[in-house]
Point group: C2
Chain length 320, copies 2
């Protein structure tokens, strides 16, 4: 799936992922009205509204970008009907041949981690049959529990040729509270040191990835999440994990700009894919795109993708 992601990035010329974070406050009134008329102001109504809204975004941008990143929390908050909307969205994105990165940030141990890996990227055995629960191509994973949490994902990634993005340095203001702590390089409490924790996690990503590659020398199935809001850290992590694709959140609404992104890419112009959520899916609420109107939210999203593509291309070309 990393191979497909790369070939789609080359074809579209856009190392961009559209983050589907369908909060109800982004959903245009006409969609909510119609969903609530059909299902009431209920979880079912909310599920219908966010599904129709997600579909509209996908219809507007699918030919411009290689991938989408549905944020499961925004669906899960509406319980079962919300998660049904998540499933419909994932399946619809597959129909459009988009690479689907499930932003699920799961992480657990042993058999529990196996269950998450099987349920989101692999298959589950039910009696004599195999079934699939959710069907993402990639998922995001939290590393706090250590390798135990990762091994089942690595196994499924190798079997299914799917992938993970491990949280290394997240885009939020308080990410440094734990991630920037200076630690020993040797691990397991064998002496203090002077390297930030995210570098250690970056090294783990590189090591996990080395065991999990489609072919010698390629990018691995194990990527990393590093926020656009931390370009200096991105520069260092780019070197520590040369074969890891970096999923870069924090562009646009969170403050990251095209020029900040340079360090996340390798010399081959690859190695990073930049996410924008609100900046694209709620573009119509911004002054710049307000002329599209609520009903033109898809066109506004498309215009925002094109502007983002231009911004990133300009920055990459300026690097030469």
């Amino acid at each position: 799936m990393i191979t497909k992601l790369i070939s789609k990035i080359r074809r579209t010329g856009a190392p961009i992922v559209v983050g589907l974070d369908p909060m109800l406050k982004y959903v245009p009134e006409h969609i909510k009205k119609s969903a609530f008329a059909a299902y009431g102001e209920t979880l079912e109504g909310a599920g219908e509204a966010i599904w129709q809204y997600s579909k509209g975004i996908v219809d507007a941008v699918w030919d411009l970008v290689p991938a989408v990143k549905p944020q499961i929390a925004m669906y899960e908050q509406f319980g079962i009907p919300g998660l049904m909307a998540f499933c419909k969205t994932v399946n619809y994105c597959h129909e459009k041949d988009l690479v689907v990165i499930g932003d699920i940030k799961r992480g657990d141990i042993g058999s529990t981690s196996e269950a998450y890996a099987a349920g989101h990227l692999g298959q589950v055995q039910v009696g004599s049959k195999v079934c699939r629960g959710f069907e993402e191509d990639f998922v995001t994973v939290n590393p706090y529990l250590g390798s135990d949490a990762m091994e089942p994902f690595l196994k499924v990634c190798a079997e299914e040729k799917r992938g993970i993005f491990v949280l290394v340095k997240t885009s939020n203001p308080s990410s440094g509270e734990l991630q920037d702590r200076l630690v020993s390089g040797t691990g397991n409490g064998e002496g203090a040191g002077d390297r930030p924790l995210y570098e250690i996690v970056g090294e783990q990503v590189a090591a996990w990835g080395a065991k999990c590659m489609p072919e010698e020398g390629s990018y691995s199935y194990v990527g990393a999440v590093v926020g656009a809001t931390y370009p200096e850290q991105g520069k260092i992590l780019r070197k520590i994990m040369p074969k890891a694709f970096i999923l870069v959140p924090g562009y646009g609404a969170q403050g990251g700009k095209g020029a900040d992104l340079l360090h996340f890419f390798n010399e081959d112009g690859l190695g990073a894919i930049v996410n924008s959520s609100r900046g694209i899916i709620a573009a119509y609420q911004q002054e710049q795109y307000a002329h599209f109107g609520e009903k033109g939210y898809g066109d506004a999203a498309r215009a925002a993708v094109l502007a983002m593509k231009e911004d990133i291309s300009a920055a990459l070309n300026a690097r030469g």
Copy 2:
């Protein structure tokens, strides 16, 4: 809800939580046969099997223990039908007046964290109505993203009088890879130090909890997860977070014993609740309880709870 948990611990004399991790390999054949006959060897069939199995466990132990901890991954792996079984299980446990700890290990930032907090512990606004997605009393939360991830949960806990257990030192073998790293005490990269990361997280738990209490001097709404497999660390963390309830996994199948648990409790005999999953729900598969047979899996679970209660009581009484 922490007040209810404490009063139920006192009433049952059992600081025990039964972990509902309904893997299909634990489900007795007669339940699988009946579920697959009705729904086929499908996700629906799996969902029905784990729901019936979970219900049987709850029916067998509900009067002995204060709380249950359904592990959402074991339901989520079966997609929507699995999560419907999770909801049915949570609702059924509420009917039995059990405190429900959703083992979801979520953690994200900003509005995404708000969505998880609202969806699992709080309420979501849908038009002019408020609805509830999942309805746990407590959930487990991952701290790797920092305070940003926690604030929305703290807000909901205070509003709803529900609670969280933050992962501090997990029970698995590789938990030390990040959690045991020696770090600076000051944070944000201001110099190396000599304290393990889990102590820093423990201090954060104490600080978050101080802002989130049902009343002065009580236990807070913010608890911690510390594995029974690490009793020495438990002793230190008990002191760092005197007002945090500790959820202690790793008893039984993972190797923890009653005597290991002493340090997790405060002098008042409270402050900890010990989880056992496989050791109870699949007790019938152990030699010791094999005489109950597959169909007696509930009775075997009940016997295992009673033995666990005795083991913990003996250890606490020996302390005097």
